[in-house]
């Protein structure tokens, strides 16, 4: 990306090689890319730790092996950035402590990505692929994780209050010390948990997502799934302890 003749730094479109953005510097250090159209940009392996991408369009950009590791937990890095469909994050980008509040990450491939301490308040992660990602101690308050693939995600000590988990797949996810979720283990071999959907308790058991009365009704007459019913009552007890609206 560094042009050795002109000593300028160019960000090119990954297929056409057209220059999208250019700066007279040897690196992107402290660059301000606020609001810049970087759709389809080739940022593979780039050091992006001090770059301001606020409001930038990063759709379809190649960010594989890019380093976003923020110097502190709340740097204004990717705030409001559009990363819808951004590709090639796969198990390579370092997003530790990255500020992704309000970022549009719908459908993004973030499998295996290290997002420890990431700030994802109100981020859109609907339908995102987050399998085996490390989101321990991440702040996800108000984030949309609906229909996201969260299998094997490490959410240890993450803040999941007010997140939308509708139709999300949490099989094998670590929910140790997570706020905003009631983990009831795996009764009859199915993951069971409760969360607040639109301010009221919602219970997920296996692939069934229901309100309390519906859940009780559904599982009540099933003698082969009595463990599930016990889990439902456990979730209700914890919800009452936490003062959640049933």
């Amino acid at each position: 990306m560094v042009d050795t003749h002109t000593k300028s730094f160019k960000i090119k479109e990954r297929f056409s090689q057209n220059t999208l953005w250019e700066i007279n510097a040897a690196s992107l250090r402290n660059a301000n890319l606020q609001g810049v159209n970087l759709r389809g940009a080739n940022l593979r392996g780039a050091d992006l730790r001090t770059v301001n991408f606020r409001g930038a369009d990063l759709r379809e950009a190649d960010l594989s092996h890019a380093d976003f590791h923020g110097p502190n937990l709340h740097v204004p890095l990717l705030r409001d950035a559009n990363l819808d469909g951004a590709i090639n994050f796969y198990a390579s980008a370092d997003l530790r402590g990255a500020d992704l509040r309000d970022a549009d990450l719908r459908g993004a491939d973030l499998r295996g990505v290290d997002m420890r301490h990431a700030y994802l308040r109100c981020a859109s992660l609907s339908c995102a692929l987050l399998c085996s990602a490390d989101l321990s101690r991440a702040y996800l308050n108000g984030a949309d994780l609906s229909a996201a693939d969260l299998r094997g995600v490490d959410f240890t000590s993450a803040d999941l209050r007010d997140v939308n988990l509708f139709e999300a797949n949490l099989n094998g996810a670590t929910l140790h010390c997570v706020s905003g979720i009631i983990d009831a283990g795996t009764p009859d071999g199915w993951r069971a948990y409760g969360w607040l959907r639109d301010g009221r308790l919602s219970i997920r058991v296996g692939c069934w997502e229901k309100r309390l009365t519906e859940t009780r009704e559904y599982w009540a007459g099933r003698p082969d799934h009595r463990e599930v019913l016990a889990a439902v009552e456990h979730i209700v007890t914890i919800a009452a302890i936490r003062g959640w609206k049933l």
């Binding site: 983990d183 283990g185 071999g189 016990a230 009552e233 456990h234």
Partner: protein, 174 residues
Amino acid sequence: MTTLRCYEIVHRRTGEVLLSREINAAGMHDASLQGLSLRGADLRRADLRGIDCRKADLRGADLRHANLHGADLRHANLRFANLLNADLIGANLFDIDLTGAILRGAAGIVDGGAPDGWYAYGWRRDHRLSLRIGCRELRLDEARKYWEGKFDRLEVLAAVEYIAAVATIRGWLP
């Protein structure tokens, strides 16, 4: 004459050989993994019945569908291990660390979730229910006595009753 064969345990991602041993044809039943470092080991569907795994480091090990029936896992580290559909019936789970472990479908253990941020599970020690919550390993009556009256640990008490309810369903409790 005893037939010997080489048995290798490899890392589930890197393929690196973590342990290589010659064992007899009967399998690993009389083998010992005591105190060994088997972090991230690929032990899918392994027949580890009755094996001595005391103090073994099995962090992040892939133990899906493994047969650990009657294994001695005392003080083993199983943090983030995948025990999906593993058979833990009759295994000694005293003082094991299961933080972040996947217990879905595992037999011989009751997964009680994470009340008040601590891992909670129940298992059968000497044919009687034993409960592990955080670092405490107690019998049911002891657990009830210990957690009762602690108003900042109401979730734990709820988990104790939940584990007891599931144990009753499974016929572990009279």
